[in-house]
Symmetry: none
Subunit: 199 residues, 4 copies
């Protein structure tokens, strides 16, 4: 019945068109937020008919999901600490991690702020984000486990949770609300705080 056929573009022109829709959506949602950006507007900005929009996406939320997935592909995937951390001190690892999180936030900053907002707003959106964030948590715990014996903390789960939350929040706030101005100082102090806490 309502099994609308969603087109999966294969030809170059179609792929470009879909990308134009995504670019337009990120641009508009960054400027005005998800709720204030209408699908018609996105289509218009992308230079595409509304019909075309709905042939690629079931609805606006479907597009949003894909945007979040794309962002996390770009932002999280390269955070593969486990590979590099073998030869690094824990201090260097933490420093590297914080820097990586910062770098991640530099890409489509405004849109990531919107993601954060929507995640806060409803569990439905939160879950969309969480699917992608989960990997990051796992990775961090496994890195920490490698230093198990040297740590002065006991409750590894709460510790990881705290550090991830802390770094995320600090970076997030610095980038989204302070325009990244005090970035260097934040990295330095944050590293100091976390390392001091762990040992």
């Amino acid at each position: 019945m309502g099994d609308k056929e969603i087109r999966v573009p294969k030809q170059k022109r179609s792929i470009e068109k879909k990308q134009r829709i995504k670019d337009a959506a990120i641009k508009l949602m960054s400027e005005k937020g998800y709720h204030s950006t209408s699908s018609n507007e996105i289509a218009k900005e992308a230079g595409v008919s509304i019909g075309t929009f709905y042939s690629y996406y079931k609805d606006k939320k479907d597009l949003y999901k894909e945007l979040v997935a794309d962002i996390y592909d770009v932002v999280i995937t390269p955070m593969n600490l486990s590979e590099d951390s073998d030869n690094l001190s824990i201090e260097e690892t933490v420093y590297l991690y914080i820097e990586t999180v910062f770098k991640g936030h530099e890409y489509e900053t405004a849109f990531q702020r919107e993601i954060a907002s929507l995640s806060e707003q409803s569990d439905e959106f939160r879950e969309i984000e969480m699917v992608h964030k989960k990997g990051l948590t796992q990775m961090f715990i496994s890195v920490l486990s490698a230093y198990k014996d040297e740590l002065k903390v006991k409750d590894l789960k709460t510790t990881s949770y705290l550090i991830l939350t802390t770094v995320e929040a600090a970076v997030h706030d610095t980038m989204f609300h302070n325009g990244g101005k005090n970035k260097k100082a934040v990295i330095r102090e944050l590293t100091a705080m976390i390392v001091g806490y762990l040992f």
Copy 2:
């Protein structure tokens, strides 16, 4: 023209009516979010006509502003650490502070989550919140200053910023997304981390 007269209620009955509107708004926005709560719905829940609603508030955002102000009155004002902290060790002060932030989040938790979301969403909403949060930052810095000589940190501004951000984020996440389950562990570890960082 267009300068709609907004009434400031003075009589008891009017004040009660206004309060009923605010209670209704908090209830509904907590349940369904700001965007999904219509002004007509709020008026109805409050047992007031939509006309009355608009005689007290210029628009929905105006009501929201007042709600945020009210929340911050209840939540932040009592955080007057400076008074008590005279006889406390820094560890106890930090502990007390974290506990106070937690307590603050226990009041109208769902609505505070909504505030957080909207603040993230647009600078306009963010500013509404920031007006009220500013006081807290000031207070914390002054408390910290009292211990100036004993601290190992130098950059007092970044330090305060970091701690406030960190505590806020950890409490926020614990209360909003974990239902406060690991509250005790978080308070303990958070205190450990911050105190370790400061000295």
Copy 3:
């Protein structure tokens, strides 16, 4: 959540407004059919905003239901044969019944045709109509029961069913598709056929 408040008009002006909507709907649906008549069009024809339309009706189908109920009120209620039939011969009763059905079809003929069409189209619409038609069937059976002993038919249920279907169809076809031209002849022959069948 989606508990939209449907307004029940009590004041004269509102009742008139609702009636205007119904009149407009009957007019347009008679001309172009249910599916080709949009709610915006109905509102426009009624000289009412689309918002007002949706304050009186949950949706287009809701309006349709009310129209059907209204039609059946006008058309079926007066068919109270049981009252009059006491002093009539069976032949006169049958004749009276057929005439009454004809009379019923003279009111909003085109719209009744549309009702018939939609009933055919889907069970959902059919049920809307059936709710109102049920009374008629009951009444007819009870009238027939009064003449039980004189009847040559045995299977009263099938007989009633057949007669109702037959009369309905003949009248319907005569009125809807032949413009009522051969009405008199049809009444005469139909009476003859049914009376001959019953005795």
Copy 4:
């Protein structure tokens, strides 16, 4: 301009393709009705591109016309009573006729119900059906004429009209709305009623 070239398939493959479209349309329209079945859907179900669809049919209505014609070919053509009726009593003829109408309704029942609905809905659709039904009326009158002298009825035209309408309606209702459950009783009573009426 606008005179789109509609292809008349001559090659085997094309004829098959057209048949697939028709089969798909009957299937879908039977399930969901004419209005709820989109041309894109039909094309997809037929395993044919929407472009091909529009090269065979001017529009959706054009396809519908052909479907009705096909149905009437299958359903009405074999109703050649005149041939067999030579050796039959009028009672047997009527019985045979009713049975034949029933048999006709057993073929693509759901789709025929849809035809009936659309015929009711607009004269345009009705005419499509009438073109094909006309033959049936003619045939019935000629059969009846053969028994002219024995009949007690005078107005042969109204009589034929009444009987055709009656049988059609009763069969229709039995098959479409009662699932054919009381078919036998209906045939029996219907025959009794009509024969009793004629003699």
